[in-house]
Amino acid sequence: MSHNAAAVGGPILTRTFKVCLGVFAMCILVLAWRFVVGLGPTTGMNDGFPWGIWIAFDVVVGTALACGGFSIAILCYAFNKGKYHALIRPAVLTSALGYTLAGASVIVDLGRYWNVWKIPLLWNWNRNSVLLEVAICIMAYVVVLWIELSPAFIEVWKEQEKYPLLCRAARRVHRWLNRYLIAILALGILLPTMHQSSLGSLMLIMTTKLHKLWHTPLLPVLFLSSAILMGYAAVIFESALADEVFDRPRETKILARLSGIMVAVLFFFLAVRLVDLALRGRLGLVATLDFYSGMFLLEMALFLAPALLLLSRKRRNNPGIELISAILMMLAGSLYRFDTFLVGFRPGPGWSYFPTIPEMTVTIGFVAFEVMLYLFIVKQFPILHTGVSPHRLEAAPKPSG
């Protein structure tokens, strides 16, 4: 699946890694406390705001930022743009990490986590529940992502003659993968399409509680397109970061093409948002200039800025502008999703929510853990593109034919 990827190598226990380790250790302590005393003392959540940042940030924003694998896969496979291949492995890696940790924070957030094993049991399913769709889909996608990434591990393990068992297992899995990879890659596009739009559908039922600037039947469309945007943006941001950290040449050429597509998605999002409000006579709410209209305008500005910045081809080829636009886009999508789940959520007078420090520690700790895993994996396994093409690494699995 990937071609000229190679392990970065180098020491694992760098300073960054150690800092992350420290943060993660703190997170573990908080988690232990949470499982002893419950959610009340550890979080800012309450009966009015039963969903806090573990859902709104870790899951709703986090999985969208982890949609790079999805966005790039659409291009590569559904739209047959082979030139984006170099981006696939790193994107799938971040997706796998992001989704796995989102899954972990759901477990932390669930009050009665010991019952989760009952969710996948078909006869328990309430088919009306959007959350069921999201849960099943995300669980399945985590598995799909690790399978999609597995060639990177297999390539290494296949050669580990020192461990015959590992070696043999890797070879067997490799054969299996060759047969089914196409089906899995297609799943890797279908599942995010489903659950990213469903994340928006989760709020459809809150007809009275969600502010009218955010509540619309088009929530699924807005969530799907924001996921695609945030996925792309995260890929750009991350590849810029990786190129910087590991001192590799920038991939601006490839990325500039991507940015052109993003401009279209950005304008699509803005148009849907505004036309929808206008058609349902809610544009007046923007003019009230209260807190909510302020948040709405900030969102709009964050979406519009990168759309304008990337409009000209010349600017698209400028790595600095590209990076800034990517950051703006990540902020725009994140704010939109955060507003929909927390800021625009108004359960009634007297209720308020602000995350506690332990709550934030868990969120930050999970991000730190993700960084650690990322660093470890790119150093040990062929994830990042090398720019050269050592034939040894061209071990792409074959399709069934």
Binding site: F35, G40, P50, L204
Partner: protein, 299 residues
Amino acid sequence: MSPTRRSVLKGFAAAATLAATGAPNAFAAPRPRKTPPADAVGLLYDATRCIGCQACVVKCKEANGLPPDTGTPRGAMYDAPDDLNAKTKNIIKLYKGEDGRTSFMKAQCMHCVDPACASVCMISALYKGPRGIVVYDPGKCVGCRYCQTACPFNVPKYEWETAFPKIVKCELCRHLLDKGGIPACVAACPREAVIFGGLETLRADAKGRISREPMRYFPKVYGDTDGGGTQVLYLSAAGIPFGKLGLPDLGDEPVPELSESLTHAVYQGFIAPVALYSILGFAVYRSWRRQGLGKGGEE
């Protein structure tokens, strides 16, 4: 390049057809309205009769084994819940208007005909039980708290202070009903401000009270049709609309209507996902061949 573009367009066309054929179907056939079961029971609360004595609050706790929610102003202990919570399934609130007029208000689960909480619960830990009572099964609940965010009345509460929490809400004292009794709040009320009975009887009674004494009542029975109807009905005093008592303006549409019809439209018989999957599978296969991915060469 041209065959690629053509096939991309083909893929688009297929997707568009899918969307175009799926969407009107969904809107042409709206989700059927739910009706309460024939033996549905409920409560009728008449705010004009309530004297705010809190007897129902105390008896509810007793009947359901709920601990007091203590506050200690000036050193003395009071069972003083300030809202529904994990220790309080039923509460009497007071509304005070600017003109000095007051009204009491009883809050507990509304036992909606088409409950949002049951609609969203992944594995039906909340569901419409016998006689239309909305029942909780802790054996299934995973504690996701979607029911809390979805309920327009903010009814389901969560045990925040424990490592092994449950959702807590009024179940119309179903344990007493099973033994032929009536809900504790109804039994406790000295003024018959809240009565228990068959839903149709209660509806007729409520409408009868308004037509007999139109000067006394606000001219509407809350819960008759609100949010698709509830099995708990409210009467308010003339001049005090239900919004003042904290009851949301839901319209007549069932709360889960929008979310369920959109979800069903997309996932009806799983046709759309399967169709999309087939298109994607084909697209991936084609790119795979075109890009020569299986043959170890790139572009």
